[in-house]
Amino acid sequence: MKKLLVLSTAAVLSLGTLSACGNDDNASSGSNDGETKLTLWYPEGDMSPAYEEIIEAFNQENDGEIEAEIEFIPRGNKYAYEDKVSAAATSNTLPDLLAMDGPNVANYADAGIIQPIDGLVDNEDQFVESIIKQGTFKDQLYAVGPTESTVALFYNVKMLEEAGITPPKTLEEAWTWDDFYEAAKKLTNKEKGMYGVNWTLDYGEWIIYFTGPSVWSNGGSFIAEDGSKADGYVNGPETVEALEYLKKFTDEGLVNLQPTPTEFEDGNAAMMLMGSWEWAKLKDYPDTEWGITYYPKSPNGEQVSPSGDWAWGVSTGTEDKEAAAELLNFIHTKENVLKLAAVEEKPPARSDAFEELTEWDKEPLNVLKDQVLQTAHPRPSTTSYPVLSTKYGQAVQNIFLGGDVQEELDKVAKEVDTDIERKQ
């Protein structure tokens, strides 16, 4: 028995050291015959074929010098991709280039799994401001991405016409909270099971992403500018006020708390606060006419819209940073950005690419373009983002179900501050 104990302790310790020093056997990059090998990870999805083509073109161009290989990681409906990255980080098996959702940049940069790419990105000035902001942590650039996203108000044209409501057509005329609330109230018809607005109560990243602009528009925020403190910010008066306003919709039944996934499409809700990508899905319903208008703004604040999308960073473990940067730039040429944006009809993250897409100047996509170029606001850049996003999401869920706004947000502040402390 004793022998067993000694043996096992030894085994535990040796494994512990193994994981601490990191064995580089599996590390991604390497070079044989003078050819640099690069690996990339990207979440599997509609973008996969386009990325495959781009990587193939890159390999042809760099034949004999650099050979890149992209792996598509299933993402699942929650955080499967992030969990996989975590497991790889803890055993030093990360790829050379790593795709990440925008808000994770700070977390990854702070932990040291991705490295600064200042000065390595070609045509940095062509990228839209929100993408550069999203990729920046402590004044250094860590990640850039080819596409953007935003949330806007989708509406059923016929229903709004019948109710005598004219949604705004220009950014200057965008609805205030009050306009939006009145419209939702007018469109709700409980007997008919008709809701004024549909918004998803998804449990993942969605909640902070879609409610963020209401907070910012009202002058509120989630965390101190330098990321050192959440207390007084996520539970500050402006943030509380913004959520009190959103809570009115759920309290008064203007929003269905348990909607079917296609409530708006099936004609059971007149408007929908939803991501820009949903435009593609609405094409499945050609018999109904859809419109898009701007994200409503606070009466005492600016027009703000959500932003952020998957971006590319260079992992710290890469053996050839120059080759990795070369590949990073290849992905972000104007042509490739256009190609990637076209797949899901996402807004491109380069303004020179945007100029070529004339359909984005016309209704209703011009709304999305205006938002991306003029009102986009990235989510907070903090290493405690996972705690913030999760806890805030749970709090908002409780608030919509009748919880007290101040009380719920106080709890979020406390949890986030504990996490900040842990990481110091």
Binding site: S8, T9, A11, V12, L15, G16, S19, A20, C21, G22, N77, Y79, E82, D83, S86, A87, A89, T90, S91, N92, N107, Y108, A111, G112, I113, G193, Y203, N256, L257, Q258, T260, P386, V387, T390, G393, Q394, Q397, N398, L401, G403, T418, D419, R422, K423
Partner: protein
């Protein structure tokens, strides 16, 4: 014993049946034990070591020993107490209900009727139905306005219930759903047990003029007591590990009312990448469940 043989120790004596048994016992159990040690005991020991560390999953090189910090934090964490309470509540209710339902179903499909085989497939089907589908459908069934369950309550003059949206009802709703979903699993174990009960015992009872209840009480129950004990213990352990249902259906809410220990463990370990704290939760969880199982085992013996 003949002394002459002692002088020649190298001569192989035929092993007695008992020594043979002993060595074979070691040989038979060795493969399983080696595998269990490598892939379960070793990771458990690692987790135990991590529970004394500040360990960011993304930064393994930066991990450091912090003594009992994680444990101190745990016992001051209000969510831990809530999760513990929720987990206990779920376990205490789900174990007897689910075991009883499973036994009932097993008895039903153990009868010699033509549809028995079909019945097994039916009752077992929720176990194999993807959690994605189960979550979508039960969220519909529990829908406050248009759910089928509320339609039925309406029929009996009861007003609409919020179910998953209410901190008071969400856990009970999950319990009900879990029994439905998992009873088929325990049913299969009971069924294997029922097949072991010799037919002769029933025949003898019938000759004595026993009715259905008496046969169940005096023949079935005592004959499968070792299986019942097993089912109760594994159901208890499984109940303690509740995670996936609240993870996909309520995300632990509303107001943490469906947050469980394993949920908390996953959230801290993976979403927040706080391996140290998560490991401390795991260690405490392990001790709690082990203690409960031992108490249960003692209680079952009496």
């Amino acid at each position: 014993m003949e002394k002459t043989f002692e002088a020649v120790p190298s001569t192989k004596k035929p092993m007695t049946y008992d020594t043979q048994k002993k060595w074979l016992g070691v040989a038979f159990s060795l493969p399983a034990l080696v595998l269990l040690f490598t892939f379960l005991v070793l990771p458990v020991m690692l987790a135990f070591v991590y529970s004394f560390m500040n360990y960011n999953m993304l930064n393994p090189a930066g991990k450091e020993f912090v003594g009992f910090d994680n444990y101190i934090r745990l016992f001051q964490d209000a969510i831990f107490l809530t999760s513990l309470k929720n987990t206990m509540y779920f376990t205490v209710l789900v174990v007897p209900i689910q075991s009883a339902v499973a036994l009932g179903l097993a008895l039903l499909v153990n009868k010699k009727v033509k549809v028995a085989g079909l019945g097994r497939v039916f009752f077992f089907s929720p176990v194999v139905t993807s959690m994605v589908v189960v979550a979508i459908l039960w969220t519909f069934l529990y829908n406050v306005d248009s759910g089928l369950i509320n339609h039925m309550l309406h029929f009996f003059g009861i007003e609409n219930q919020p179910f998953l949206l209410s901190p008071d009802q969400a856990m009970n709703s999950i319990i009900f759903m879990s029994v439905w979903q998992a009873a088929g699993f325990q049913m299969m174990i009971f069924l294997a047990g029922l097949k072991e009960v010799p037919e002769e015992l029933y025949e003898a009872a019938e000759v004595d003029g026993a009715n259905v209840w008496q046969k169940f009480r005096n023949v079935t129950l005592p004959s499968i007591s070792h299986v019942t004990g097993f089912v109760l213990i594994i159901t208890t352990i499984q109940a303690f590990r509740l995670f996936i249902q609240p993870y996909v259906m309520t995300n632990g809410g509303p107001s943490d009312s469906t947050k469980t220990l394993v949920f908390m463990l996953y959230e801290n370990g993976f979403q927040f990448r706080d391996v140290g704290y998560s490991s401390a939760i795991a260690v405490v969880f392990f001790l709690i469940v082990l203690l409960s199982s031992l108490i249960l085992k003692k209680a079952l013996k009496q």
